[in-house]
């Protein structure tokens, strides 16, 4: 067959993708590893300094604080996204009129730029002029003193909730597709055996979802929330102070602040922070699959 196929052009069909990826992804990644070992400020000559940037990282209170913020943001976002996504999907797995309309509306926030979404919430949450603020203070004047974005802790909670609000629909679509791929015989069999709705959910549906939808959602949400950038830039710009600054925002600021070498070292640390939970959960899901 191959002999007849004549031209051997097909053997290099992966090459354009590889060149594009090599130049715009792998090469910068490799260069980043090199730069992380230098004191480069973006202009003058780079000097090799070994692991000094990494040592500095562990003595940089702002960097360590940003690690904490990033991790807290992910710890808040990822479970809530999965919880709401699954609950929403279970509701929409019923048949009723207007189901598609509800699905469309729940999904709508996810297609809008998280930056613009952050600004929309800014309108809602600002003290004095914000809509929610005005509603809250008209119900009970004692709310009127509150500014949810003024304290770092409050602002972080708001950021998590906005993120969850925006992306629950995305998580839901994946769960819904998983739910709809479960053969109805399985569910009927469970019903015949006298299982209640919640028994079927816990012992039949969730184990089936674990290898597909849950895995995809958990991993996507881990990567997405640990590299969070846009929504924080829009809502708090990392403030008050640097109280809600995530590691990816710190990387950008260090790069602009002429600490280019250092910022690439921070980026590599962020890479490890993403990689570890992803690998752990991949391993976890593999063990779940083998049991099932």
């Amino acid at each position: 067959m191959l002999r007849r196929a004549g031209s051997r052009l097909h053997l290099i069909m992966a090459v354009p993708a590889l060149l594009l990826f090599g130049f715009f992804f792998i090469l910068p990644l490799a260069r980043g590893v090199w730069l992380s070992l230098t004191d480069w400020n973006g202009v003058s000559k780079a000097n090799f300094v070994g692991l000094q940037n990494f040592a500095e990282f562990f003595h940089d209170p702002r960097a360590l604080h940003d690690v904490l913020i990033t991790v807290l943001f992910a710890l808040g976002s990822a479970p809530l996204l999965n919880l709401f996504g699954l609950a929403y999907a279970l509701v929409l797995d019923h048949e009723f009129r207007g189901r598609n309309l509800v699905r469309t509306m729940v999904y709508l926030p996810a297609i809008i730029s998280p930056l613009i979404m952050g600004y929309i919430w800014y309108f809602i949450l600002q003290p004095q002029r914000g809509v929610l603020w005005q509603i809250a203070s008209s119900i009970n004047p004692s709310f009127a003193g509150g500014n949810w974005l003024a304290s770092p802790r409050g602002a972080l909670v708001v950021l998590i909730l906005v993120n969850v609000w925006q992306y629950s629909g995305m998580t839901m679509v994946v769960y819904l597709a998983g739910l709809q791929s479960i053969p109805s015989e399985v569910l009927e069999a469970s019903a015949i055996d006298g299982a209640s709705y919640f028994q079927t959910l816990c012992h039949v549906v969730l184990p089936i979802l674990a290898s597909s939808s849950v895995k995809i959602n958990v991993i996507t949400n881990i990567i997405g929330s640990l590299s969070v950038f846009d929504v924080i830039m829009a809502l708090t710009e990392g403030g008050p102070g640097y109280g809600t600054e995530s590691l990816s925002i710190y990387i950008m600021r260090m790069c602009y602040g002429s600490f280019t070498g250092y910022s690439t070292a921070v980026a590599l640390v962020l890479f490890l922070i993403v990689l570890i939970p992803v690998l752990v959960s991949l391993r976890f899901f593999r063990s779940v699959e083998f049991e099932a």
């Binding site: 509800v102 709508l108 609000w165 679509v173």
Partner: protein, 273 residues
């Protein structure tokens, strides 16, 4: 668990829809109000409508240029992405060998790397090749970032397709390469739709890379134009909201027009992953 929804299910579903809709209503409410309409204590009152906000915001934020830039960058990135990823997916799925296995593993591993991690070194690279403030370089960067997942989707899809049609084309004198472009590629529509939808959204909305590589007003995309506008006109909420609404409108319109393909594409993309 397919069953008919009870009243409770419907009530919960209505609440879900309302929770998702409220911010959009607030946005439009502010975008349509007069400057006085937004002052303290009047958020719940009926607004005096001022539709001219949209025209003013469009003009002041130079949104026209931004829309053109977003369209050019997104189209360029998606065309590059579809061509490169489908060809690579075909090669990996059909011609096994060490090289293709290695390519696949590189892409699989890279799916775990968020784009922000190599943005700084990429910036220095872009400066060297004159790619800062150019739309072509931005499109290539975004296409490259989207490659791993797309190659993965194409590879899985092509593996699940039968080889027979291609082989009969080859019996008739086609090369493997032309069998791909003439026969296989048109059959890839469902997965191409998924790739375009999933990545198109991310590319259209991209901000984290755009803020590094597109600094001149002439090459600004929609998210950049909106954020610049916010920094300049911070106090004028009605104009800010109008700008945000204009910025969000194209994605919303595309979603509502193609919602069935969107949901299908996203679910297919996700479940294959």
């Amino acid at each position: 668990m397919k069953r008919r929804g009870s009243m409770l299910v419907r009530a919960v579903a209505a609440l879900m829809a309302a929770i998702s809709a409220v911010p959009f209503v607030v946005l439009l409410r502010i975008a349509l109000s007069t400057p006085a309409g937004m002052s303290t204590g009047r958020a719940l009152a009926l607004p005096e409508l001022q539709i001219t906000n949209f025209a003013r915001a469009w003009e002041l934020s130079r949104m026209g240029v931004a829309v053109v830039n977003s369209v050019v960058i997104t189209t360029g990135a998606l065309v590059t992405l579809v061509v490169c990823a489908s060809a690579a997916g075909y090669a990996i799925a059909r011609f096994r060998g060490r090289f293709h296995l290695a390519v696949m593993n590189v892409f699989l591993f890279s799916m775990m790397i968020p784009g922000i991690i190599n943005t700084v070194p990429l910036y220095t690279l872009m400066r060297r090749i004159g790619g800062i403030n150019t739309r072509w370089a931005m499109a290539l960067v975004l296409a490259a970032n989207a490659l791993p997942f797309s190659v993965f989707l194409y590879t899985n899809f092509i593996r699940s397709m039968s080889k027979e049609i291609e082989e009969s084309a080859i019996v008739d004198g086609c090369t493997w390469f032309s069998a791909f472009w003439r026969i296989t590629f048109p059959l890839l529509k469902p997965v191409t739709a998924a790739v375009v939808i999933v990545n198109g959204l991310g590319i259209w909305n991209n901000y984290a890379q755009a803020v590094f590589f597109l600094q001149k007003p002439a090459v600004r995309t929609i998210p950049l134009a909106v954020s610049m506008f916010f920094q300049q006109y911070g106090a004028r909420w009605n104009l800010m909201a109008a700008a945000a609404a204009i910025g969000a409108a194209p994605a919303v319109a595309a979603f509502i027009l193609f919602q069935r393909q969107f949901i299908k594409g996203l679910a297919a993309g996700a479940l294959k992953g």
